[in-house]
């Protein structure tokens, strides 16, 4: 039996009578990066938020890092979330805190590390995402790409077993998108986010960072497999979606 980091079984989720996910099944093995691709409004972010336990499914089961998260209440989910890192599409940095304080936040909250050790870790994390001399800047003073990198540094602060990326290259110019792609690739090979789930509509990004690609169509996973197999699939719906992406 494969040791899965994420197992989703028969997931249904709707909002205000509109069904987004319709009995979705998906499995992410440990030490793999899975990209979930789908059009705008297809439910990619909903899927990621279900994995993080930020929202509850209407039906189905969510098992993450060996824990059945479906019946857990908010407080019971907190220890599980500390084992995950979540990179938000808009970075979701705490706007009243500096870059340093944002990255230090999870360390100060969940560890008893002395401040010297916190500072050392924060600087290493910021260096890892290619940021220097921005410690005392507020999020409002950063560019979109820099915010995303700070968001990644914050998500990696507690050395999570699983990292969830929500559209990491969305809204970035090509240079910044390439930078984030190289960063996610680097984190995968150098350790730091060996197991990752990414939702994206960026085909180039998905091809570069993924061991597996899943295509989400009509609330279900239409196909999942290695990038080459998915990208050259002759399935009509998958092919149509990918062709649409390219156009």
């Amino acid at each position: 039996m494969v040791d899965a980091a994420v197992e989703l079984q028969g997931l249904w989720k709707g909002f205000d009578g509109q069904v987004v996910l319709r009995g979705l099944d998906l499995e992410l093995p440990r030490h793999a990066t899975l990209s979930v691709m789908g059009g705008s409004g297809s439910g990619k972010t909903v899927l990621l938020r279900l994995v993080a336990g930020l929202i509850k499914p209407d039906r189905g089961r969510v098992r993450v890092l060996g824990v059945d998260a479906t019946p857990l209440r908010e407080e019971a989910l907190l220890p599980l979330r500390r084992r995950m890192g979540f990179v938000f599409q808009g970075a979701a940095l705490f706007d009243s805190l500096t870059v340093y304080e944002n990255v230090a936040y999870p360390l100060r909250e969940h560890t008893r590390l002395p401040e010297v050790e916190v500072a050392d870790r924060v600087h290493r994390l910021l260096a890892r995402v290619g940021l220097h001399d921005v410690d005392q800047k507020l999020p409002a003073e950063l560019s979109g790409g820099m915010k995303k990198r700070v968001g990644i540094a914050r998500a990696l602060a507690l050395e999570p077993e699983l990292v969830l990326y929500d559209e990491p290259t969305a809204g970035l110019d090509p240079a910044n998108a390439r930078l984030i792609t190289e960063l996610v690739e680097g984190l995968k090979t150098e350790g730091g986010s060996e197991t990752a789930m990414v939702v994206t509509h960026d085909l180039e990004f998905a091809r570069a960072v993924s061991d597996l690609i899943a295509v989400l169509i009509d609330g279900r996973i239409a196909m999942v497999g290695p990038p080459d197999a998915v990208l050259h699939s002759d399935r009509r719906d998958v092919h149509a979606f990918l062709a649409g992406e390219r156009s």
Binding site: L80, H110, L158
Partner: protein
């Protein structure tokens, strides 16, 4: 019949959802009331935000309320030759009702709308979800410190407002109605008992909690982006004022029974 039902049902659902949500938040606050020591600075920061920055509002309102009440009561009491009772009348009114209620409405509106705006903008920018994703209990981090601060700040501001209200009454009684200064205070100490002060201050604990809960819930439950945030903030001011007045009635009944 169907039209009436279709008109009433969605509103009834909204009202039920609102009160249910508010009740659930109160329950969550109760379950998470115990804070770790590292959260103490957050409570102290709220003391500043809620208390120190509300001193001018609370004091000004109390001063002029005491003065107006003394003016009005002196006019009518003089018709019965009872001018000397201006002090006790001002004292009882300010200590039992005006001090706690006006403080709760004015300071509460200001504090609660600030909480709604802050939590609402955190929600819009996914900062609350970011806290949750980092494994942080957002009720403990964002709401409980405010409730704990309110439990201290509202009674303290009420005591201050009570005192300033009495001083305001004194200014009118002594300088405008020419009532003796010692008579003013002596009649207050004779007719107003400690229970009157305790009743008013006791109410302020409840007002503090209700006001903070409404502000926090409206911020967390807001929808509709920045436009929704504006609506939620306005709704908070109205709901806080109404809630204080309604809760005051039931608390008055309760304290009269005790």
């Amino acid at each position: 019949m169907t039209d009436v039902r279709s008109l009433i049902e969605p509103r009834a659902r909204r009202v039920a959802a609102y009160w249910g949500g508010l009740g659930l938040l109160a329950w969550d606050v109760g379950r998470n009331a115990w804070l770790p020591r590292r959260y103490l600075p957050f409570v102290l920061a709220e003391f500043d935000g809620m208390g120190i920055r509300s001193l001018v509002v609370a004091s000004t309102a109390a001063m002029f309320t005491g003065m107006v009440f003394a003016l009005q009561s002196a006019v009518y009491l003089s018709r019965f030759g009872a001018d000397l009772y201006v002090g006790p009348l001002v004292g009882l009114s300010v200590l039992r009702e005006l001090g706690p209620v006006l403080t709760a409405i004015l300071v509460g509106g200001k504090v609660a709308s600030g909480i709604t705006a802050e939590l609402g903008s955190m929600k819009v920018t996914e900062q609350i979800d970011a806290l949750r994703a980092l494994g942080v209990n957002y009720v403990k981090r964002l709401i409980v410190p405010r409730i704990l601060a309110a439990l201290f700040v509202f009674p303290l501001l009420t005591v201050l407002a009570d005192f300033i209200g009495l001083v305001g009454g004194m200014l009118i009684a002594v300088y405008e109605r020419k009532i003796d200064l010692y008579l003013y205070w002596n009649t207050i100490f004779y007719w107003v008992v400690i229970r009157d002060l305790v009743t008013g201050v006791g109410k302020s604990f409840f007002f503090g909690v209700v006001v903070t809960l409404i502000g926090a819930y409206n911020g967390l439950a807001m929808t509709g982006g920045t436009e929704g945030l504006g609506r939620a903030t306005t709704a908070t001011v109205v709901q806080v004022s109404l809630a204080v007045i309604v809760v005051d009635f039931f608390l008055t009944k309760l304290f009269l029974l005790l």
